[in-house]
Amino acid sequence: MPLPTLAHLTAAANGPRAHRAWVSAVLCVTLATMGCAKKDYKSETGRTRAWTATLELARQQHGLRATNDAVTRQLLDRAIEARAKEEPLLAHYAKSDSERVAARGVLDSLQQQIRQLEQATR
Amino acid sequence: MKDGLDLRHDVQDAQLVDRNSENIGRCDALMLELRDGKPPRVATIVIGGAARNERIGRWMTGLARLFHGRGDGSDGVSRVPFSAMKTVGDTIQLDVRRGELPSEHVEQWLAEHFVCRIPGAQGKKERRK
């Protein structure tokens, strides 16, 4: 099958620098956009609810002695961190009154689970 | 077997080995000797150093200067006469000893001052199939 050899392919790249400048530019743009991911009201309420569900499951497994204390405590810490992070985010993304009320409810459920797990691991 | 040596394909960037078949780097450049009244001929195989860095690009030259700190550019370059070529195949064997080559100074320096200072550097069950 007559494919070009690597020499043919790289002849252009072994030559002028413009080729590599273009590749570097694309790489820079790629890396620059890496830091930001899309967030909105739906994603953040979903995330908060996910942590609530996680803690419920964690409490269940902790009760069954399936997980060790270290992990349960670490999950608790992560949930507390998540709650602290989500509260201002949800305040920012909730645009209508109903959204604000719903956000409050979601945060409260998480707080409740946090308290319950804290008690269970005391 | 083809007749003649394709310099670009068979020599440049080829793996070089010394008399004991140990790796001594790659052919980074070929130097032609210009002679009055006679056609130029391939005189030297260049390994490492400024020649290689220049082929990579200016940034590499700058980086190397940072490490070596010297500006003369002659350090770490091995110039081996073309006549030292013994065999050509997957690797090119040169009639030199590894220890003689300036481009191997980094290897020797690291071996002496870093690797061999750490226990266990000399012993390993070498299992060759």
Binding site: A37, V71 | G25
Partner: protein
């Protein structure tokens, strides 16, 4: 007889060494968000990896040279720098993530924060490379990695709908959250098709002294071994789908993953999860470190071998020492291992073209491959992967922005 033993060993090694932090993290996230639906991404990634590994293995067996070696020789130093950098940067990030995985496993086991484990892990990994031979490093960690079979056991215990799993192996469109779906597909592909894997495989073929006689061993090791390994990775996705998706749990922390095995298998499953995470990530740590050292040493023509004593390949030994010690620094400084893993998988996916396209060309070069160069089927396969690689290069960053985080 010896060939059969080598074959079996090769398959087992591929299987036990398949899982690592990337496939675990992406599989769990994929399963939690989309159930079995992303199974096809794992299947596709596994098949691509098998094809790429068979190719680089065949390259090494036929030519007696590794892929990195041939890349330098056929591309010239100037263009070689492109794949060199394009492999070193993503694989370094993946390496940091693997160390993060080991560190988190130890944090989960002991309660001591993961940052404190970074340096000890790097030192133990370094010691294994310093004193161990290639077979010890490769096979030892992979055999221990068979503990990851616990995921298979967990899934069986949960009695999934196997037909639904099968349906997930066929590509389908998501009902909602399209951006997240495709982002996760890309990260699963990036986790499965990491360049360091097939580069390491070709260097390993040389360390093991493969010749033309090993072509069938190569085919079966690359094909069957990866298929079994991919099956295990699928079990991770399925397990997460069964435990997390009904509860709407999203995975933002490694500690959550322990629940995937704890729920069906209790304390035993939990412990085996920690052991699995530890061993598979540790194995990958050592492997990626070696892969980077091979790439540099072979590209620049230094003496190299994991079977040589360090005194005889000082630059090679220094390289892997520096690489593994540098890689533990971000974890020691407290970088979030899961976020790092997610980013590194996407960057890995984006970096594929520079190692896939030259491979396609080399596999057709009769001066290199003699009578074993690619036939039309091999070229269609590799060519398709090349097209996929370019697509991933273009889509990776936008998808991360739209659907990731």
């Amino acid at each position: 007889m010896k060939k059969w033993a080598e074959l079996a060993l090769g398959v087992v090694t591929s299987m036990g060494g398949f899982l690592e932090v990337g496939s675990i993290a992406t599989g769990v996230q994929g399963g939690a968000s989309f159930g079995f639906q992303l199974g096809w991404a794992l299947l596709l990634g596994t098949i691509c990896l098998a094809i790429l590994m068979e190719a680089t293995g065949r390259l090494a067996a036929v030519s007696g040279r590794s892929y990195a070696d041939l890349l330098r020789e056929h591309m010239g130093i100037r263009f070689f720098i492109v794949p060199l950098v394009a492999v070193l940067i993503p694989s370094f990030l993946v390496l940091v993530s693997e160390i993060g995985g080991v560190a988190i496993a130890l944090q989960m086991a002991t309660g001591i924060a993961f940052r404190w484990w970074a340096i000890p892990i790097a030192l133990v990994g370094w010691f294994l490379l310093w004193r161990g031979t290639f077979s010890i490093v490769e096979q030892g960690t992979a055999m221990l990695g068979l503990v990851s079979l616990v995921f298979l056991v967990a899934v069986f215990k949960m009695h999934p709908e196997w037909s639904a799993i099968g349906a997930g192996l066929v590509p389908s469109r998501p009902d909602n959250d399209k951006a997240k779906y495709w982002y996760l597909a890309v990260s699963i592909l990036g986790a499965s098709i990491s360049p360091y894997l097939y580069l390491f495989y070709s260097a390993g073929a040389l360390e093991d002294g493969w010749t033309i006689k090993y072509l069938n061993v190569n085919r079966i090791t690359a094909g069957v071994g990866n298929l079994f390994g991919g099956g295990l990775a699928l079990m991770v996705l399925v397990g997460s789908a069964i435990v997390f998706m009904p509860r709407n749990i999203q995975v933002d922390a490694y500690e959550q993953i322990s629940l995937v095995l704890a729920t069906p298998l209790g304390r035993g499953g939990f412990v085996l999860f920690l052991v699995t995470l530890f061993i598979t990530c540790f194995g990958a740590t050592v492997e990626i470190t070696l892969a980077n050292a091979y790439l540099l040493a072979q590209g620049f023509g230094w003496p190299w071998s994991e079977n040589m004593k360090p005194a005889k390949d000082a630059r090679f030994a220094t390289t892997y020492t520096v690489v593994i010690l540098l890689a533990c620094i971000p974890i020691a400084l407290g970088a979030d291992p899961l976020k790092l893993t997610n980013i590194s998988m996407v960057i890995s996916a984006a970096s594929l073209p520079v190692t896939v396209i030259p491979l396609l060309v080399l596999m057709n070069d009769e001066r290199v491959m003699t009578t074993h160069s690619n036939g039309w089927l091999g070229n269609i396969a590799l060519g398709s992967i090349a097209i996929l690689a370019v697509a991933l290069f273009v889509l990776a960053a936008p998808l991360y922005h739209l659907g990731g985080g």
